[in-house]
Amino acid sequence: MSHLALRNLVKVYDKTEVLHSINLDVADGEFVVLVGPSGCGKSTTLRMIAGLEEVTGGEIEIAGRVVNNLEPKDRDIAMVFQNYAIYPHMTVRKNISFGLRSSKMTKAQKDARIDEVAGILGMTDLLARKPAQLSGGQRQRVAIGRAMVRDPAVFLFDEPLSNLDAQLRQQMRLEIKKLHRRVQNTIIFVTHDQVEAMTMADRIVIMKDGHIQQVGTPAEVYHTPANSFVAQFIGAPSMNLLQGVYADGAVTLFNGVTVPMPGRAARAGLPVHLGVRPEDIRPAANGAALLSGTVSVAEPLGPETLIYVDVNGKEIIASGPGKQPPKAGDAIGLGANPADMHLFDAATGEVIA
């Protein structure tokens, strides 16, 4: 049984439909990340689950109840905001205790619960402070504590890490993941950062323009993208898309090279995109090369080198060895294994399997 379900969820703002029939099932204890470019409707979806935004159409079900018409406080959810939104005029303890206002615990039980949460988050000695006396990471922790203290059925996070610097962000990412292991609540986490999505999620929901593009584990969305948008959005640097035409079990690329792609269900003459990730396309000897061009930039990353290759005016990103990489200006041949390639309909972007 799913713990949180969105059924044909629609949102209309002033006659503009921004969410188009979203369907999603989240299992109890699952960590689901909503990811997508700016304006795709992630926050809107989350805010509708929280009850901060009216539902235009469809249903939201939390723990077996339809919550469309319930107040936020009655939905058994807690939310962590991008700006943290911890109350500046209250101590950390008071802030956290606010999450317990509507609970029926006694004062002593509440205090014990606050201490427990503070212990888990490692901020027992911060309880008496005011937010102004905390660092960014500590404020973030207080915001999480305020949400955690109620032990909600669903945690909602809206880009909680985007205000932190890179190092702290990585650390909090890990902490939130550990926290999830420990408390096992269901989490819906919104981000526009695909690295965050890949590293934290049990399942990723990729959205674009108010539509869900694909739902799957990080490995699934990475290795078997449902369309060229997902293929390019997940993974950095992005997957290369090469123009070509499909016919008789092979793709003829824009440069005239033919790549065998047997057994695909596509009609002859269909314009396609051949997708190949930078790590799957490597320098190759001239005979085995799929593409050839000149290196425009080489970016050494240590273990390997990113090579930007100009192929007939189109930029292809490939990986080369970390030691003795090709240099800018070198002529280079690139090869890839057809098994690592993805085929997409050029018109619709859908994967061709």
Binding site: I77, M79, F81, N83, I86, Y87, P88, H89, R146, N163
Partner: protein, 293 residues
Amino acid sequence: MTTADTEIRASSAALLEGTRAKQRRSLGQTIRWLILFGGGILMIMPIAYMISTSLKWPFEVYNVGLIPEEPHLENYQYVLEDGRFYGWFVNSLIIATITTISNLFFDSLVGYTLCKFTFRGRYIVFIAILSTLMIPTEMLVIPWYLMSQSFGWLDSYWGIMFPGLMTAFGVFLMKQFFETVPDDFIEAARIDGLNEFQIFWSVALPMVKPALAALAIFVFLGNWTAFLWPLIVTTDTSLYTLPVGLSSFGDEADVQWELIMTGAAISTIPTLVVFLIFQRFIIRGVVMAGLKG
């Protein structure tokens, strides 16, 4: 911090640029000092004259000299021993206090509603409230008077207070300040289970304390010194507010300036107290502390 910075920069620049720059700078400095000094004199003169006059005998009140020929405290003794003064003082205190509390509460309530809730006609309501700012008190006293007369509010505290219990200016000020409170706080509180009034009272209001303090000072001073309306609405001398009462020292033929100035000097004390109490709340950056670091 910034002043220290500029001072250091200014002086090191002057050292580098040599004496010409120093001279030019000191000329500019002198002009600035003179302007500030003149401004200061203008501000202080009335107060100095008030205190000076309160120490004079009646015969020298019309002497321009600032220093009384024979300074004495008998005016103070007279005013404080005159029973009416206490009555007026208390009237003013009650009226100014109640009006201030009422303004703080209702102005911020309305300002908050106009700022944080979307409802049909919100803009029109706001404009309507703002437009009342354009109408001067002198034009309003006649309708107020007629209204008070027909409701039987003449010669009562309520009659003196009712026009000022809420002000358009206060609503405007509070609305603008609530704009600086991010909606995230309000939504977080909603999820935490507070009702809308609790959100206003215990989340939003504490974040605009500086505005409340400014408004409190403003409203208190305004009502403490209000003259025209209290004069019109009261005929019973025991209901006079302090400014009205003070002006009644003496008659048409002989205004007793030294007593009026003595009363005025005493009556500035509560305004000083109010200012000292509230000005410490006027600190910036209260809201920012709960947000991103």
